[in-house]
Subunit: 193 residues, 4 copies
DNA sequence: AATGAATGAGGGTTCATTCAT
DNA sequence: GATGAATGAACCCTCATTCAT
């Protein structure tokens, strides 16, 4: 454990380069050069180019998770506010998780089984959160109760995931944010009593 | 114009292979072999690998457009129904436009300027459609009129685009469809009077 | 079939280089350079470095076989003479099949299953030849008949294979030839009446 | 001299791995890991990968030598018996000296001058032994005396070396032993009066 | 229109070796 | 004595692209 300074450095550099140029167009050689390390050093710390990419994505997901936990654990926020805050934060965090985003493509789904695993795990985690917030909202009489709660939750998650779309598109975050409030109002109104 | 049978064949084969393996992992050689043509033939009909991919994506977008036009031009559908039908069809068509989907990634945006052009054009086209349907809905008193119509439209497009997200993810279409109705109700309710 | 001139050229060059430097120390790049061809060309004609090596070894074995057939099919030679001539020729041919020789090593046996196949096939072929010559010798009353003919044949093959040993060693052919006659006499006397 | 326990350990592990995978396919890293030592430790005790291999081969040759000396120094064995016992033992010992065997290849001869030295020395040692046994045999009137003694000896060594061949081949020792007796008889008969 | 042999610029990966601790 | 992080020179192999036929 002496110093994984090098490992961390490589990870950071790789994250930036993958984000800018994508997985295929980024060369191990470039990463090494940018980190002012020998190519061999990259391979000392990571088995593979793929392995390095995995590490980068995992890192991003952890950042997202801990960012969201801050909001989830805030007891002062009432359900409608918390949901809005959650989605807002989520949007912001995802906007920076560029590498995780790139993971959506066919190429990754087909070839990197592991990505599927990581995504799944993250989605389950998120499902639990949404469920909690909505259930709280119903219990506290903010939202319309429904026989089919799970469906409602599913739909919500879907929309929420849907929001990833615009993010991943070119204009993305910048253009999205201003109108986000309108969007939220539509959704909240849509599920409210 | 004698026979662009070969060209068409290559296009079809390429579409399938790009869809299955993605742009990078698909080789010109493999495409040629699958089409039982010589590698040189591919280059006779398409300047580039990129050029071939462009053709494939353009093809897909054209399919989407003509599919949607059928609904847009149906005078019997009232705004709320038409919007719902439009979104439903859109979902279905996009689900099959795998190559267009793959276009979302950073790598494409950064490196294939042309894609941006194609996307933009398609999005504008779609914007006009949505605007028409919503304006019609307001005029016919189905939807709440708003000072800020453009924002509403933008938001709608956003959600609509949002729906692409789940599609692109692994489970995709199959799992999405059943709950689509709930989703639509929330949205329609959200923008209704 | 236009011109496998290039393929043949590469094969020849590779054969020489593998012979001189061995499989591992020979670089595809060097082979290509020596043949004044592009590295890619080597890979156009041969899947692999291994594949190229296989082709080289196969070639050598074919040369050996056709060389030996000349003697085997010569009806004028009487058994003792034919055996001697056969072994002599075999020695000479093997001396030039350097790459086939190198195949003996653990490394090859462990990792190149195919080599085992090629060897086996060749050894069977050779077994049949020896058997024929000895049986002829017995029938024509030159050699001692034995109850256990197969064992005798096996032993002979063994010795014969044994002769590969010195060949593979450094001094090899040069030093071996002069004394070969003595050797033969010992063997022939050993199995004669 | 405190503890060359580590050195010995590395040597043993290296011997096994070289034997199983060959010189090239065996990595210093793997050796170190198998010995549960750091890679640096290997380099503390041996200058080179080559140096380590040398040590391994030397070890094997010493084992062979001392094994054969037991037979050579046995005064009770008469020449024909002793030769047979010697060859038998030699075969058995060589069968286990896998790394020494691998030394036969072109690659080693070309590039590892040192191997040539080690081989030469061993062969000389062996030449002396054979000479002694045969001369004894002639003196004691077991074998045919010949004007050209050196040639006879050379031939014998050659056959004897020849026996290495089958050994190095795949089936090797197992299949060889049963017929060894026949072989010996042929040879002994071949040089007897 | 079509072919397929030939090219060569990369890019990922391996591994013996060094060296500060 | 021992460690293990770091190095960088090689090396194999891929693949888009060209071109003579």
């Amino acid at each position: 454990m002496k110093s994984n300074r090098t490992k961390t450095l490589i990870l950071e550099v790789a994250s930036k380069m993958f984000a800018r140029y994508g997985f295929h167009k980024t060369t191990i050689d470039e990463i090494a050069r940018a980190a002012r390390k020998a190519k061999g050093s990259v391979y000392y710390h990571f088995t593979d180019k793929e392995d390095l990419f995995k590490a980068v994505v995992s890192e991003e997901i952890n950042t997202i998770k801990s960012g969201l936990l801050v909001i989830l654990n805030n007891p002062d926020l009432k359900p409608p506010v918390k949901i809005k805050a959650y989605l807002l934060k989520r949007l912001e965090l995802l906007a920076h998780a560029v590498n995780y985003q790139s993971t959506v493509t066919t190429e990754f789904i087909e070839h990197y089984k592991f990505i599927e695993g990581i995504r799944q795990e993250y989605h389950n985690w998120e499902g639990t959160n949404i469920k909690k917030m909505i259930t709280d909202g119903i219990e506290q009489d903010y939202f319309e109760s429904t026989e089919n709660l799970d469906v409602l939750i599913y739909v919500f998650i879907m929309v929420l995931k849907g929001l990833e779309g615009p993010l991943f598109a070119q204009q993305g975050y910048q253009e999205l944010m201003p109108h986000f409030d309108n969007m939220m109002n539509i959704l909240i109104k849509g599920i409210s009593k």
